[in-house]
Amino acid sequence: MRIIAWLAGIGTLLAGALYMIVSLNRWEWNRALFFGLIVLIAEVGLATGLVLRRLARLEYRTTRVDPAVANILRETRPPSADRFAWLREPSRDLNVFITFLVGGGVLLSGIAWVVDRVASKSSSPAGEERLGRQLDPISYPSGGLLLDDITVLAQEVPGANDDQIRQLLRRGGRP
């Protein structure tokens, strides 16, 4: 299958080049341009195929390493650097790590205390103010739900003809 593809590419390249030269010789410029385009496409395809084949060979070579060589390299591998050896030193002396640890803890604690105090002073009033604004649409009207006597007498409200309701309304309307 691969050989057929290579032969097809090479055949297309040669045929396209032949027809391009023939068309040029016959002063058929449009045909020459078309076959030149075919030649270019075949050339790019073949070049890409060659590059990919070379890359595949390189990859094949890198994957086939002699096990004996790999074993020798593994055994002679240098030890990894112990970058935290200083942590295992005797801690009788106050070295840099302890200094940084304690100092950093104190510093972070101080910053956290300041943040907490500032937040407690600023968030509660702001939250209460925001809650008050949110409760405002569902709050009772300033004058209460009951009408005053003048409004009751002036308007024909539902239930105004009931004696008990009129009595309640008059009471509610008093200041």
Partner: protein
């Protein structure tokens, strides 16, 4: 790096020579070298044409006329009269003044080239006449 042997050098020289000769031949074949035509007065053209997949309102005679009118712009000759239909997809046209050899090659190449879509024109006869 492969070693240069005399055989390889010989093959390389032959390839280079073939390439140079080919390019020079192609240059000679596509170079315009005009010369006066004194013996002939006009050039007679007979073509066969066929169309495939063209628009419905496009006829073969007008396609051939468009092709010939386009190609006559590449040479120094012009149509001397209307294009005559000979039947069976064949057409005849006369151009004046007569074309020299380079113009004939150029005109033949243009007429047989892919100039207009859906029409293929082949030159049957292209010759000067007195």
């Amino acid at each position: 790096m492969k070693k240069l042997t005399p055989l390889r050098l010989l093959l390389g020289a032959i390839g280079l020579a073939v390439g140079i000769v080919g390019v020079l031949a192609l240059r000679e074949a596509t170079l315009s070298t005009h010369e006066p035509v004194s013996a002939a007065r006009e050039t007679e053209l007979v073509v066969s044409a066929k169309t495939k997949g063209g628009e419905q309102d496009q006829t073969l005679p007008e396609m051939v006329e468009a092709q010939l009118q386009t190609c006559r712009l590449e040479v120094t000759s012009d149509l001397a009269g209307p294009i005559e239909s000979l039947g069976d997809g064949r057409f005849r046209a006369v151009f004046t003044p007569a074309m020299d050899e380079t113009n004939q090659r150029q005109f033949r190449g243009c007429v047989e080239d892919w100039v207009i879509d859906h029409v293929s024109v082949n030159v049957i006869e292209l010759a000067n006449a007195t």
